[in-house]
Symmetry: C2
Subunit: 341 residues, 2 copies
């Protein structure tokens, strides 16, 4: 374990590096932070901290830079707990109020706010509905050949699909079909729709072309309901960070950000962790091993959940990101509920 002075020095170094983005030397620390010791002493301590793996040196005669381990220690132990100021909270509330009309816009706007406040990239994973319970299905006639299926879930989401009627089928057949499906599936989450349920529907419908139509409809619903949406914000913030002065690096990261599935996987890894911080090399995906991710999982009606995250260089204002995500987290469920009516 690090003694008191080493901790204070490490903290000073990380604070300084986070705000300056320059390798920090003993002299700077001695001057800016009043630790009551000379640069030489700090140099010795820094050498120790490097030995222990908390700091790194780019070349023999440059200042030190925090390592992943250093940041980890900082985040776990040295970081003073921060809260958003009332001012900031009010500002965020105002942004939401001004912009948000539809549920979709909540996620979009959340991403924007996070990136604006943290000056980093934000990721917002909207809840997937596979854990929502099926509530009911109704058909509406569209024209002679087609009907509209309206599907509702317990969480209050509504979707519609246009369905082609098989030859010979009537709207009355479809109404009968909806009764069967409603009876069998009511209360089932989309995840839980099993082959057994399908079998029951088949038995009750007793008409194979109708059953096929029902099956296709259910599959199409599952398809859309299961795909969760990912909202990205602030990719241009990247360009202001000195660690991305190089076009090659920008390209690498932007290309990665286009790989939606990869991003989803990364966020999934932290689903349910509450507030979690992953630093530099702790990241499994090598493309972001000089970045850190702060994630927070939010809940909606107990079950349904999504994730919001900040992605930025390891040199990141962790305190700010964490306090912001906590706040957004609490807000988000509330705002979505209000909007859903």
């Amino acid at each position: 374990m690090l003694d008191e002075r080493k901790q204070r020095i490490l903290q000073a170094i990380i604070n300084d590096y986070i705000s300056s983005a320059e390798p920090v030397g003993s002299r700077t620390i001695a001057r800016k932070y009043d630790l009551g010791v000379s640069p030489a002493t700090i140099r010795n301590e820094m050498a120790d901290l490097e030995m222990l793996g908390y700091l790194e040196q780019l070349h023999t005669s440059s200042g030190r830079v925090p390592s992943s381990k250093g940041y980890r220690f900082y985040v776990d132990g040295l970081l003073p707990h921060q809260e958003m100021s009332e001012n900031e909270k009010a500002l965020i509330d105002k942004w939401y109020k001004a912009k948000v009309r539809r549920v979709e816009e909540v996620f979009q706007e959340t991403a924007k706010i996070i990136s604006r406040v943290t000056k980093n990239i934000s990721l917002v994973l909207a809840p997937q509905l596979s854990q929502a319970a099926f509530r009911c299905l109704q058909f509406l006639p569209l024209d002679g050949r087609r009907v509209i299926a309206v599907i509702m879930t317990d969480a209050g989401f509504v979707e519609n699909k246009i369905v082609e009627m098989p030859d010979g089928a009537t709207f009355e057949d479809f109404r009968r079909m909806s009764n069967v499906i409603n009876k069998v599936l009511a209360g089932h989450t989309f995840d839980m729709i099993s082959s057994e349920s399908l079998q029951r529907i088949r038995d009750e419908i007793m008409d194979s072309t109708l059953y096929d139509a029902a099956l296709e409809l259910i599959h199409r619903s599952l398809d859309t309901e299961k795909t969760e949406r990912l909202y990205l914000g602030g990719t241009t913030q990247l360009l202001n960070q000195p660690e991305f002065r190089d076009v090659g690096k920008i390209k690498d990261l932007l290309l990665m950000l286009e790989e939606e599935q990869l991003l989803k996987d990364i966020l999934h890894a932290h689903l349910g962790d509450g507030l979690s911080v992953t630093i530099g090399h702790e990241n499994k995906y090598s493309g972001i091993q000089d970045c850190s991710i702060v994630t927070a999982t939010y809940h909606l009606d107990g079950e349904l959940l999504g994730t919001i995250a900040v992605l930025g260089p390891t040199r990141m204002e962790y305190g700010k990101a964490m306090s912001l995500l906590s706040y957004m987290n609490n807000n988000l469920a509330e705002i979505i509920k209000q909007l859903r009516w």
Copy 2:
């Protein structure tokens, strides 16, 4: 007017510059393109072309670069008409088939394809529905307090909204309301819904709280139907272009690309022009005066329209972009119709 030889030289220079991105000198032209004259002669011609404003020189002793006027002449007169090869067409069709399930995905995928093929940024403006005709509205009961409104348009789009019932109103009231609205608005485009129609609805409903609910519903529909969506593709392609080796320029353009309204305005300016090319300084918005935009307007059922576009440095493969957009244009309406069922 330029004589035959000047034209051929201009063409050669532009071709070369488009593929090399390097200022091109007399020697290169003489060597690569068999014009039957010596570099010295070409030098003289190039000096003339510069005088006439078709070429520019960065400094006294560098090769020449085409000016906006030069590209304009090239696009209008020198560009051989190109068609997509059957191979490419087949490839594109395959991409669509593999990826596209929902109407929304058509636009998304179109943007992706355009950027992939042209290696530039693509813009796809999805048709706004304000010109779609209202077809019918139906209500479904959701729970005691709320109903679902399902709105259909002639173009085959279906939307739903959750509506809160005013105190004391019953589902039967809403059913009656839908009858009135359907009678009055049937066949009206969203653009055409006038205060007169609203007045008629008011007269028929004869209940001010119910009328308020109806009004709100109509407004909400107009809100969503009127906002057209913009899909962007290939922003990372930017980073491969040598003209964007500089981080500052990347930032400027990426920031501009975040201004959705601005982009829409730019596309709107060309709405209905068919295939249109805007080069460099011809652009009104100063942020893209070293870029060119190729746009094409597509139609859906005569009225409904949108725009697809390629945005890239003035040094762009105009022929490729134009032939691709023409092809996509023809395809797009077809694919959307098929998908809509």
